[in-house]
């Protein structure tokens, strides 16, 4: 199991290396001149040349790649052209927000998805099951940014307009209120939670819909197998059969799914961060794309790749914990 983890770690590092290499060459071979952006439209040729030297753009591409890669590996990711501060600072300030949002939504997605999917499997082929199946299909088809706007419409503006109870009123922008610094610790915590509600609901609803679709099928597949019938014949309670035998075995493919669904989760996070002005990596990246701030674009791509790789290693380890067959060292 340790060997497996180490192998995964090294393939993961190789993957991140490949990603940053490809992005570097794409960015540097693309039309457009970063030096021009740096000096601004009014600058003359001499200033442009000076900027080119300062940015190292006068050297051959391969030489630039080697220096850049060495710097990148050391965590020196250059300076953001738009914000004029280190890229590593920009992204590491943003990272905790992204981790909080995506981590919390992953948790809700799986807990909610398993509950809904199990419920559907128990009520299979009833009209309730059909209704939920249709609902999950529709919700799963919703674009995250659109669902986000609908939630803002309902629970930021709608609540105020229609006089719904104040508990249903949530902030539509940012990760904390403007007055957060003046609140006591408990108030600050509540403020953070309030700001998390709508972005998290957006991601979790779509995630739960996708997971429930999968869980329902996985549980139905396992439900009719011999060992489940045996467990029932032994006189186990339905709940005991469901939890110990059906769910346990249906969960295994779900862990694989966890790794596979991470890229989609982060895609959704990018949109949600943009809509809710959530100060995470995705919002920084979209802003950087708009501003042609290439150092940030490249580094943000690497950060997302690293997050997916880490998530996959985690899923792998989880799999080994959940499946005793993978735990034994004999292989």
């Amino acid at each position: 199991m340790l060997r497996r983890a180490i192998v995964r770690l090294f393939t993961g590092i190789a993957l991140i290396f490949a990603v940053v290499t490809i992005t570097f060459f794409l960015v540097n071979l693309a039309p457009g001149d970063p030096a021009r952006l740096w000096v601004g439209p009014g600058a003359g040729q001499m200033e442009l040349d000076a900027a080119r030297r300062a940015l190292g753009l006068d050297r051959p591409l391969v030489a630039r790649y080697v220096t850049w890669l060495a710097d990148f590996a050391r965590g020196e990711w250059g300076t953001s052209l738009a914000q004029q501060r280190p890229v590593s600072r920009v992204l590491f300030d943003a990272l905790p927000h992204t981790l909080l949002l995506s981590g919390a939504s992953l948790l809700l997605t799986y807990v909610g998805g398993i509950i809904v999917g199990m419920f559907q499997a128990v009520k299979r082929r009833t009209s309730l099951d059909t209704m939920i199946t249709t609902a999950t299909m529709v919700v799963y088809g919703m674009p995250a940014y659109w669902l986000a706007l609908v939630l803002v419409l309902l629970f930021s503006y709608g609540t105020a307009r229609h006089g719904w109870p104040a508990v249903l009123q949530f902030p539509a922008l940012g990760a904390a209120g403007l007055d957060a610094d003046f609140l006591n610790p408990w108030g600050r915590f509540l403020d953070r939670v309030e700001h998390l509600v709508l972005p998290l609901t957006t991601l979790a609803l779509i995630g739960i819909a996708g997971t429930a679709r999968y869980v329902r099928g996985a549980v139905l597949d396992v439900q009719d197998l011999d060992y489940v019938r045996t467990a029932r014949a032994k006189g186990l309670t339905p709940a005991g059969v469901g939890l110990r035998h059906v769910l346990r075995n249906a969960l295994l493919p779900l862990i694989t799914l966890l790794g596979l669904s991470l890229p989609a989760l982060f895609s959704g996070t990018v949109f949600v961060e943009v809509i809710f002005a959530w100060p995470g990596v995705g919002r920084e990246m979209v802003g950087a794309v708009g501003a042609r701030d290439y150092p940030v674009v490249v580094a943000a791509t690497a950060v997302f790749a690293a997050l997916v790789v880490l998530g996959n290693i985690l899923a792998d380890l989880l799999y080994a914990v959940a499946d005793p067959r993978l735990r034994s060292p004999t292989r």
Binding site: W146, L153, A264, S267, F271, M285, V297, T301, V308
Partner: protein, 287 residues
């Protein structure tokens, strides 16, 4: 062909196909169906933010209202169908052709070539597709063909894996051995015997791919990095409606319903075809 009969008998697949067929008709007949010019602006002060079913100053009914520039929303939705469907189909086509080629080459080539191709496939697959798209569109001027190309070139990976698995399975079958024994060349083997038989799972991937491509085009356009204004795309319509969310909620919400319908239609087809072909397989799908 019994698989196709199974597909036609599947209620979901038929529903999805019917939904897409309606959208295709809307897209093709857009100039005749749309009540107004989707880009026409009359006197903005008089025509903007008209609610659904309101009557404009010229006496025409605005079935779905107007946006903040006084443009007819129904007409923009109808013309947006053209963008969505054409981006979806073209991008999925690129992805399927590229993916099938890479998968088939990997499967028939074998050895180091196969390992390298599949490693690259897995590597690209591990990235959030939107992040890939963002990195790519950052480099070029936004426009219709850029959107088609970047979505196509970031969608081939699942197809490549499917195609490789399928072709590898076929390679072990007796009819391939027979064709080899009869002296078929490698190219002939690939084009005449392997690809036609590997086609069906690729169709599933294509159906899901169209839905993903439609959602991604709308997403890029929503971020202002896809189809540029004033051409109506469901995504840039939502984006412009975002600025008037409270005043005129219909501008942002209605195009979203169109996207949901298109994506659900493609997923229904994908589900139906997959169950008809192979009741065991199940995927999560990714956007």
């Amino acid at each position: 062909m019994s698989t196709w009969r199974a597909v036609i008998r599947d209620r979901r697949a038929v529903t999805g196909l019917a939904m897409l067929a309606v959208m295709a008709v809307v897209a093709l007949a857009a100039p005749w169906l749309a009540p107004a010019d989707p880009m026409a602006q009359a006197d903005i002060l008089e025509t903007r933010f008209l609610g659904p079913l309101a009557t404009g100053p010229d006496g025409t009914i605005r079935w779905l209202g107007t946006d903040q520039l006084g443009r007819d929303l129904l007409s923009r939705l109808i013309f947006g169908t053209r963008i969505s469907l054409s981006v979806g189909l073209l991008a999925a086509l690129i992805a399927v052709v590229l993916g099938t080629a890479i998968g088939a080459i990997a499967a028939t080539g074998g050895g180091a070539l196969e390992r390298v191709l599949m490693a690259v496939t897995d590597a690209v697959l591990a990235l959030p597709r939107l992040v890939l798209l963002l990195a790519l569109v950052a480099l070029f001027q936004p426009g219709f063909w850029l959107v088609v190309l970047v979505i196509g070139f970031t969608g081939w990976m699942p197809v490549a894996r499917l195609a490789r698995a399928e072709v590898k399975g076929l390679l072990a079958r007796p009819f391939i051995e027979a064709a080899t024994a009869a002296g078929a060349s490698r190219g002939r083997l690939l084009l005449r015997h392997l690809l036609p038989n590997a086609l069906t799972p690729v169709v599933v991937a294509a159906a899901l791919g169209i839905g993903n491509a439609i959602a991604l085009e709308a997403g890029l356009s929503f971020l202002g990095l896809g189809i540029p204004a004033p051409t109506p795309s469901w995504g840039n319509m939502i984006s412009s409606g975002r600025d008037a969310l409270v005043q005129a909620p219909w501008i942002a919400t209605l195009p979203g319903l169109a996207i949901v319908a298109a994506v659900v239609a493609c997923n229904l087809i994908g589900d139906g075809v997959r169950d008809a072909l192979d009741p065991q397989a199940r995927t999560f799908g990714s956007v």
